[in-house]
């Protein structure tokens, strides 16, 4: 009995000690947002793990020749998207087949990538790490490289009692940083919180948005994050059939994950293949260029009707979804002291 009590006390003492070493990060869902989907109990956020996740996010050590980091295609200044390129490019200037999506409000999403091939945020990073045209590396080798680095050895040792660097930990830390990328301080959000008001033009645009766009780009996340065929003409240089390539179900042909409308000004070009450079091109697609096909979204069976003035009003509203506090948040940025030392140093 005495031995048991002794062991119990040791266990209690150790748990207190372990807890003390970590600062809990309280994830606060914005008031106007639904309950997050991500299960934080399985990966409880801590200040230290978020910091380590950020370090990994900005470190090209994740790629096979240490040239490409997550931020290469997900830049904080572009709401973590990749501008100027219709198709994102990775290692050795290889060009991929899709436009890197913006990263924000990831805790509310269930499937990742344009085709939903990835079923959990924790597993998402494996795809770009392993892709030959992105980072061309393996998670096994990433763990081995990190384990040889003084900086990472120290950072992991601060967090994990056994000091081990594992694939699970690398991926969970990357998730932790990305989960903190919450964008909910656009003018739209402030209007909803009654801290601001729409101009007349924005209000008219909001009404148009509610009538014409909100079925798929639903408030407050401005996407249902479901998959839809929005009537784009197939690009025969890519022949990308989207979700069908994952499910092999013909009903999913040409369907892509519906992107959020938040931070649109920062995330051009638009669509899965970045074919439209301007917002107005996107609106023109919906009013004039919808291609009929068996899987076309029911909401787009008839082209949207919007006058030129209405398009201007709609764009005025869409610009209220830009969250400058998010895009220029210094906490999300790269800091030079984060970068790891080259191999062997």
């Amino acid at each position: 009995m005495r031995t048991k009590q002794f062991i119990v006390s040791i266990v209690v003492f150790c748990s207190i000690f372990i807890c003390a070493a970590m600062s809990v990060f309280k994830f606060e869902a914005p008031n106007n947002f639904p309950k997050p989907f991500y299960d934080f109990d399985k990966n409880p956020l801590s200040v230290e793990k978020i910091k380590l996740g950020k370090m990994l996010f900005y470190d090209p050590i994740l790629s096979s020749d240490s040239t490409i980091s997550c931020s290469s295609c997900h830049s904080p200044f572009n709401s973590f998207a990749h501008t100027d390129h219709d198709l994102s490019h990775g290692i050795h200037d290889s060009i991929g087949t899709r436009n890197a999506p913006a990263l924000m409000n990831l805790a509310w999403q269930t499937l990742f990538m344009w085709d939903g091939a990835i079923n959990h945020l924790d597993m998402q990073a494996l795809a770009p790490i392993s892709h030959a045209a992105e980072m061309n590396e393996s998670i096994k080798n990433v763990v081995e490289k990190l384990s040889r680095q003084k900086t990472y050895k120290e950072e992991f040792a601060k967090i994990y009692v056994d000091k081990n660097i594992t694939g699970e930990r690398v991926l969970k830390c990357l998730s932790q940083f990305q989960l903190t990328l919450v964008s909910a301080n656009a003018k739209y959000d402030k209007v909803k919180r009654q801290e601001d008001t729409f101009t007349k033009k924005e209000q008219k645009g909001y009404t148009l948005y509610q009538k014409k766009c909100s079925n798929c780009h639903a408030e407050p996340l401005f996407s249902t994050y479901e998959f839809a065929n929005n009537g784009l003409e197939i690009d025969t240089t890519l022949n990308d059939y989207g979700r069908w390539m994952v499910t092999k179900n013909s009903a999913d042909s040409l369907k892509f994950k519906i992107p959020t409308l938040r931070n649109l000004s920062f995330t051009y070009p638009y669509m899965h293949d970045g074919r439209f450079a301007k917002l107005r091109d996107v609106l023109n697609h919906y009013t004039d260029e919808i291609i009929q096909s068996p899987t076309l979204a029911p909401q787009l069976q008839n082209k949207l009707s919007l006058t030129s003035n209405e398009k201007t009003e709609l764009i005025a509203f869409l610009l209220t979804l830009n969250d400058k506090e998010f895009v220029f948040n210094e906490n999300f940025r790269f800091s030079i002291k984060n970068i790891s030392t080259p191999e062997g140093n």
Binding site: Q5, D39, A117, I118, N119, L126, I129, I139, E168
Partner: protein, 227 residues
């Protein structure tokens, strides 16, 4: 409050001190009724055959006595990799001194585990048993070289996985077993490969109907070794 906390802790501690029995389950990979040697040349219907990689996940191990499920205290996934002998014996604890006459286990990883994010240990993606381009564990990996296989360098590769309908490759097997501490399960790989025409069907590496049928075929080569 703290008193309750202490009581709960003490209770938890007592459970962990309860009598446990450790069982060992040993997987024997065989070929033509002898232990399979990786990278060894075998003659198979006038063709040369070499097997260099055999790995699979074992999960949800449960024991029964007269059809009644016995209490167990761990829920673990094991990766059996025949390159490393140490992974071919797994130890498993059951509570108390319980007798059993039947065991069941799954070959592969269930869909709920597949969909709930990253895990460590045997399930860590660094094990190379997780697809990166599309989420999902590879439940069974069998790779080798066959002289009649038309692929590059005559390599055949079966990466059997897929966790959702209609391509769920998880298999469940059940055996009548003797109540011993060391349970030996034979895995007769020739019985699997003999049913495949390696000149035609040599690469299965994504969730598909073919993967499901191969996974079912693979599960049939597991037998309880009565000696």
């Amino acid at each position: 409050m703290s008193k309750y906390f202490f009581t709960i802790l003490l209770f938890a501690a007592q459970i962990s001190f309860a009598q446990e029995k450790t069982l060992f389950v040993k997987f024997n990979l065989t070929y033509q009724e002898a232990p399979l040697v990786l990278n060894k040349n075998y003659a198979n219907n006038n063709e040369n055959l070499k097997i260099d990689n055999v790995q699979f996940y074992i999960s949800n191990i449960v024991f029964y006595k007269n059809g009644r499920l016995l209490e167990t205290n761990i829920d673990k996934h094991f990766l059996i990799n025949f390159e490393y002998d140490s992974t071919t014996i797994i130890d498993y604890k059951i509570l108390g001194d319980q007798n059993f006459d039947q065991m069941k286990f799954s070959i592969g990883i269930d869909s709920s585990t597949n969909m709930s994010g990253v895990y460590g240990g045997a399930l860590d993606p660094t094990q190379g048993m997780y697809w990166t381009w599309q989420s999902g564990y590879i439940n069974v990996k069998i790779e080798g070289i066959a002289s009649n296989c038309p692929a590059r360098k005559n390599k055949f590769q079966y990466h059997l996985g897929g966790y959702s309908f209609p391509n769920n490759t998880l298999q469940s097997v059940s055996f009548d077993v003797e109540n011993t501490e060391m349970i030996t399960i034979n895995v007769a790989l020739d019985n699997f490969l003999n049913q495949i025409d390696l000149s035609k069907n040599y690469e299965v590496m994504s969730p598909s109907a073919e993967a499901v049928s191969l996974a079912a075929q693979f599960s049939k080569i597991f037998t309880f070794d009565a000696h």
